[in-house]
C-alpha cells in the first residue's frame, strides 16, 4: 500500500503538523523571552538579559496572595468536581436507564455555552439570591463549567469498564460500598486522575468565569489581565511564564502517573 504518492502525502502532513505546533508555541516562547529581559521595556533582540523581574515578582506579597487564592480555588474545585463527575459518569456511560439520552445532552450544554455569558448569568443569579461575591462564589462558577468537562473525561474511561466485574463482586457477597471501594474506583482510577488534572488546570487558567464572580478577590488570570490593559509591566511575562511552566510540569508529571496507573492495572488483571 505504501506508494510514492502516499509517502509524499504523509510527509506533507508531518510538515504541516510541525508548523501548527510551532504556531501553537510562539506566544509561550515570546512570553518567556520577555520575562528574561532586564530592562523596563521589551524590545527584540533583547539588549540585556537578566532575572531581575523574576526576583521582583517572586518577592511581591500581593502576588503571593493572588497565587494562593488561585490555588485554593483550583484545589477545592478539583475535589468537588471529581466526586460529582464520578457518579455523573456512571450515569452517563455505565447504566442503561430511561432518561439517559436526555441526561447525556444536558450535561454537555454548559460546555457548549459561551463562558463570558455564563459568568454574567451566574453574577445575576448570585445577586438575585443576595450572595456576596468572593472566591467562594468563584468556586461554584468554575464548577458549573468544569463538572461537565470532568464527567465527559471520566465517561470515556467508564465506556471501557466491564460491568461484569461489579456483578462478580456482588455475587461473591460484597456490599455496595465494598464494590465501590474495591472494584469500581480502582478500575476507574486513571479516568478519575486525568479528570482531576483537567479540573485543576482549567480552574487555574480560567478567566471569563472568575472575572464576574470573584468580587474583591483576585485570581492570577484576572490580575494578569488588569495589568495587561493598564500598559506594559515586566511582571506580566514573569507570572505568565511561571503559570505556563507550572501547567507543563503538572501535565507531564500527570502523564507519567497515568502510565504507572495503567501498568499497575494491567499487572493486576
Amino acid at each position: 500500500m505504501e506508494t510514492r504518492a502516499s509517502r509524499v502525502r504523509h510527509g506533507l502532513i508531518v510538515l504541516w503538523t510541525i508548523a501548527v505546533v510551532v504556531f501553537l508555541y510562539i506566544p509561550s516562547i515570546s512570553i518567556t523571552l520577555a520575562s528574561l529581559t532586564a530592562s523596563r521595556y521589551f524590545t527584540f533582540p533583547i539588549p540585556k538579559w537578566g532575572w531581575d523581574w523574576w526576583h521582583k515578582t517572586l518577592d511581591s506579597i500581593q502576588i503571593h496572595e493572588i497565587i494562593k487564592t488561585s490555588l485554593l480555588i483550583a484545589a477545592i474545585v478539583t475535589v468537588i468536581a471529581v466526586v460529582l463527575a464520578f457518579f455523573g459518569a456512571l450515569a452517563f456511560a455505565r447504566y442503561n436507564w430511561k432518561g439517559r439520552a436526555w441526561y447525556q445532552k444536558i450535561v454537555l450544554l454548559p460546555i457548549f455555552f459561551p463562558q463570558s455569558v455564563l459568568g454574567l448569568a451566574l453574577l445575576l443569579w448570585f445577586n438575585a439570591l443576595g450572595l456576596p461575591l468572593s472566591w467562594h462564589t468563584a468556586v461554584f462558577a468554575h464548577l458549573v463549567w468544569i463538572v461537565p468537562v470532568v464527567t465527559l473525561v471520566v465517561s470515556i474511561q467508564v465506556y471501557s469498564f466491564d460491568p461484569a466485574l461489579e456483578e462478580a463482586a456482588f455475587d461473591l457477597g460484597a456490599s455496595r460500598w465494598q464494590v465501590l471501594r474495591e472494584v469500581t474506583i480502582p478500575v476507574l482510577m486513571p479516568g478519575l486522575f486525568s479528570g482531576g488534572l483537567f479540573a485543576f488546570l482549567l480552574s487555574w487558567g480560567n478567566f471569563p468565569l472568575s472575572l464576574f464572580t470573584t468580587g474583591a478577590d483576585t485570581t492570577v488570570p484576572e490580575y494578569l489581565y488588569a495589568k495587561m490593559v493598564a500598559g506594559y509591566t515586566p511582571g506580566v511575562p514573569v507570572l505568565g511564564t511561571i503559570s505556563t511552566i507550572g501547567a507543563v510540569i503538572l501535565l507531564i508529571g500527570g502523564y507519567f502517573v497515568m502510565l504507572a496507573l495503567d501498568r499497575r492495572r494491567r499487572a493486576a488483571s
Partner: protein
C-alpha cells in the same frame, strides 16, 4: 452486557434506577448552577432599565431599545468572525487530525500532549504572548529588522490579528473532536473502496469525509459557540478595531450600569447559541461517538 440481565436496576415501584441515582447530584447541581442562572438572565431582561433587582413589574422596554440600537452591528461582527474562525480551523486541523489517527503511530500520544498543554495556560497569557510577538520591535519584527533589514508594519490591532488569536485559542476544540471522528472511519471501508478502484480523492470524498462527519459537526459547533462568546481576543489583539456583541454586553453591565439591557443582549446571544446547539446535539448518538476508542 445488556440491561435485561440486571433486574435489580430497573425494578418496579418507587425505587429510583441506579442510573438516575448516580445522575442526581449532577442534575441537581446543573439545575441550581446552570438552569437557574439562565432563568435569572431572562428575568432581568424584562426588568425596567437601570434597575438591579428582580422585584419590578416586567416590561419589554429593553428589547425595544435593542432593536432600535446599533447592537446588531456587533452581533453581525461576532457571528461573522466566528464563522471565519470555524472555516479556517477546519482547513488547519483536518490534516493534523488525519495525521494523529493514521500517520503518526506511536508518536500520536506525544503530539496530542503538545496540543493539550497550551489549553491549560490562561487564554489571556497566551494572547499576550502574541502581542509580544507581533508588536513593533517585538519578536517577529525585531528579528526581521536585525537579520534582513526589513522594516514592516505591525499587524497588531487589525481584524487579521483578532482572527489569528481566535484560530490559535480554539484550535484544540476543533482538533480533538475531528480526531475522534476520523478514528471512527473503519480501515476496512477505506481499503474496500480503494480495492474497488476508487482514487485517493474518491476515497476521501465518498468514504472518509461522510463517515467522519459526526466529529466535524461537534468540532464546528464547539468552536463556533466558543468563538461567538469570545471577548479577550478582540480586546488584547484587536485594540477596539472591531466591537463584538460580548463587549456590548460587558459595557452594559459595567460602565453603563444597565443590567436589564445587558441581560436582553445576553438572551439574544443565548437564543442563537441555544438553538444551534440543541438542533445539532439532539440528533446525536453520543454513545457511539465517545464509546469507540
Amino acid at each position: 452486557m445488556s440491561a435485561e440481565v440486571r433486574p435489580v436496576e430497573d425494578g418496579p415501584g418507587f425505587r429510583l434506577s441506579a442510573g438516575l441515582r448516580s445522575a442526581l447530584p449532577v442534575i441537581v447541581f446543573l439545575l441550581v448552577g446552570f438552569a437557574a442562572p439562565l432563568l435569572a438572565v431572562i428575568g432581568f431582561s424584562f426588568m425596567p432599565p437601570r434597575t438591579f433587582g428582580l422585584g419590578h413589574p416586567p416590561t419589554f422596554e429593553n428589547y425595544v431599545t435593542l432593536f432600535d440600537s446599533t447592537n446588531y452591528i456587533s452581533l453581525l461582527w461576532s457571528l461573522g468572525m466566528a464563522t471565519a474562525t470555524v472555516l479556517i480551523l477546519i482547513a488547519v486541523s483536518y490534516p493534523v487530525a488525519y495525521g494523529l489517527v493514521r500517520v503518526f503511530g506511536r508518536w500520536s500520544t506525544l503530539v496530542t500532549l503538545l496540543f493539550v498543554i497550551p489549553l491549560f495556560v490562561s487564554e489571556n497569557v497566551r494572547l499576550y504572548g502574541w502581542v509580544l510577538f507581533l508588536i513593533k520591535n517585538g519578536v517577529l519584527l525585531g528579528t526581521l529588522k536585525t537579520l534582513f533589514g526589513i522594516e514592516a508594519d505591525s499587524m497588531l490591532f487589525t481584524t487579521a490579528a483578532i482572527l489569528l488569536g481566535m484560530v490559535y485559542v480554539y484550535l484544540p476544540f476543533m482538533l480533538f473532536p475531528l480526531t475522534l471522528g476520523i478514528s471512527m472511519v473503519p480501515n476496512d471501508a477505506r481499503e474496500a473502496a480503494s480495492d474497488l478502484g476508487a482514487s485517493r480523492w474518491q476515497v476521501f470524498r465518498e468514504v472518509e469525509l461522510p463517515l467522519s462527519t459526526p466529529g466535524l459537526i461537534i468540532g464546528c459547533l464547539l468552536t463556533f459557540v466558543l468563538a461567538v462568546g469570545a471577548i479577550a481576543e478582540y480586546k488584547v489583539l484587536g485594540g477596539q478595531q472591531v466591537i463584538p456583541i460580548t463587549h456590548d454586553i460587558e459595557i452594559a453591565f459595567t460602565y453603563a450600569q444597565n443590567w436589564p439591557l445587558g441581560a436582553a443582549l445576553a438572551v439574544l446571544l443565548m437564543l442563537i447559541v441555544g438553538v444551534l446547539v440543541l438542533v445539532a446535539l439532539w440528533r446525536f448518538d453520543l454513545d457511539r461517538f465517545l464509546g469507540r476508542r
